[in-house]
Assembly symmetry: C2
Homo-oligomer: 187 residues x 2
């Protein structure tokens, strides 16, 4: 295998192991076996399990989510909801995220990595989505991006990752109306 291929194979193996057994039970041995590489290939890249998992998670979690401009806040919002709900319903995300969040309660380094990834996404949503809507005159100048992010991502995360209830067409429409009214009221 080429050097780059080995790194990809290790990254995929780490993600699968995280989904299957969780961080606590993940072992370098199992990752090496699944990736089809020797343990030395791993130790050449990272000095321990925490470092390996954190670098891979940061890479995946901080990847820019494309937030295209659909021309309207309602269109942008529906697109974002689609992207987030697809990501949250993916088997790997639905198992890895709760597991790392549980570890974060005990491990400050994991907590810091997750917080950094989260801030990247929160900023993207706050600046791009809200910024565009304000520029179009759909939301008032003073719209608080902090409240906006909570009002958009919060209910979505709650419904899909905590309550684990499906989202119907009807719900998406009501949600868009509700969020728009909420943000107009705080501006």
């Amino acid at each position: 295998m080429l050097r780059g291929d080995i790194t990809v194979a290790i990254r995929n193996a780490v993600m699968s192991e995280l989904a299957e057994v969780g961080y606590g039970r993940l072992s370098i041995e199992a990752v090496a076996r699944r990736a089809g590489v020797g343990k030395t290939a791993i130790y050449r890249r990272w000095s321990n399990k925490l470092e390996m998992v954190m670098e891979i998670i940061s890479d995946v979690a901080e990847r820019k989510v494309p937030l295209p401009d659909t021309g309207s806040f309602s269109g942008d919002l529906q697109l974002l909801l689609m992207i987030v709900s697809t990501a949250l319903q993916h088997r790997i995300a639905s198992q890895i995220i709760p597991d790392l969040m549980a570890e974060a309660a005990r491990n400050p380094q994991i907590a810091e990595t997750l917080q950094r990834a989260l801030r990247t996404h929160q900023q993207a949503v706050g600046e791009k989505l809200i910024g565009q809507a304000v520029a179009r005159g759909e939301l008032p100048e003073g719209t608080d991006p902090d409240v906006a992010v909570d009002m958009i991502l919060g209910p979505l995360y709650w419904r899909l990752a905590v309550a684990r209830q499906p989202i119907g067409e009807d719900y998406l429409e009501k949600f868009t109306v509700a969020v728009t009214a909420a943000l107009r009221a705080t501006g």
Copy 2:
């Protein structure tokens, strides 16, 4: 110890062990040691670890949260936010909830127990809080309690349990205005 005292001691020990080591690493031995009882006292009550943890968690999680009528939706909402934020910031809750949610992704029985507890609280919020506001004429007749629960609990859970950012006085006020506008718009 009296029979009831033993049960209380075991329950407290289970909660502390869950917070400290998590469900995966929790052992009947450690619970017995911490509670100051013999392992037989535990096996007389539950046949295994899963049954023990699920019964205790159900008991705690399904305890009715008092939702008093403050006379206004804004008052009720602020009181609820205070109760939920205190609960979510409690060390035990902030470690046990993420841990059990992670286990739920792998264990259907844990998932079912958490979902049941959640539904109890969602119903309470939907019926009592929203019902009172509709009765007072503060929210329209057709307010969707499903959307309402997501719009109230979602941002709160997101901010306190996921993003782990503090809630200031100012935020609470903006949030109340935003949620009220959101719910009026969907009614």
